[in-house]
Symmetry: C2
Subunit: 207 residues, 2 copies
Amino acid sequence: MSDDTRSDDAKAERHKATMQKQKARVDAAIEAADTERGVLLLLTGNGKGKSSSAFGMVMRALGYGHRVGVVQFIKGQQLSGEEIYVRDHCPQVAFHQMGTGFTWNTQDRSGDIAAAEATWAKVEPMLTDPSFDLVVLDELTYMIGYSYLDEQKVLDALANRPREQSVVVTGRGGGSALRELADTVSEIKDIKHAFKAGIKARKGVDY
Amino acid sequence: MSDDTRSDDAKAERHKATMQKQKARVDAAIEAADTERGVLLLLTGNGKGKSSSAFGMVMRALGYGHRVGVVQFIKGQQLSGEEIYVRDHCPQVAFHQMGTGFTWNTQDRSGDIAAAEATWAKVEPMLTDPSFDLVVLDELTYMIGYSYLDEQKVLDALANRPREQSVVVTGRGGGSALRELADTVSEIKDIKHAFKAGIKARKGVDY
């Protein structure tokens, strides 16, 4: 047996021992998680990936034939790839957009508030309808941050939703009460971004 | 004019002024980003949302009729919603899975290496084919972390890909050289996770 073979064998043995320990940890954690119910997810932070992650979950849910609702608050005037895809290929998804453009484009607080309220009126029936397995509230956090919607009204609707329903909320900020209420919170940190290095936002990646 | 109305008007004016400044900043940043090319994205960190974000970008790209390749390294034996969806509804996506299950389930280093190499052989033709607009390499980082694939070989293939092609790499870790090469890096931090509070992983959300 060569030294190389011996060292490969040793590496394989160490690997196996490490993986056996890891398997025991993973199995114990899976065993311990025994509550079955829908979850409230908050995807926040300043990095790229919040809305796309929500749409990835839409794809997951559609894979299982789940009923999905998507409501987008504050979106640019530009069409996005996910919007085109959902409209063209997923007629079963209940899809609404506030459609007023970004706050810095409208520059109209009372108009934005009226649009936010009208959009929330599309959300409320979803959050009381147990036939929706997954509801995505894309960029909702800004509505709370700018006080376009009453925070307590939003929190109450989320807290009182059907037990089996999962909700994904995306956007920077959102406040500590929403974080507290959420079952899962992921904060997406911007370590670096192509845009800051002078690369244009990319169709099919950024929008 | 009541005090309330006056205070609302003042709020609206302040809002408008803030938004005008923000619009100037956003417009300047958009103006400065004038390079058009594909980007390399790394979605890393220990939080939930890396793979789902990659699949959200798949949906975006499909919205524009882009050509997409998806290769998944290290996946559980369990079917995932995104896998079912892509197989059933997106025959135009080139989709491959390593399919060996998690490293802690196989516990077999040499078998994992052979599987990783065979899977990489599916990736290489995509990374040299300009007809692919987007390539997702889901959980690739672990192949580098465990030294299942040669790091330099992976980095070279990514660096030398067609100029217009975007690539999304997901997974914890990945090493500093991959971070350096990537145009955009988002680190998804686990602030809290339902699983740790005893809630079972959820179909259509977690897998």
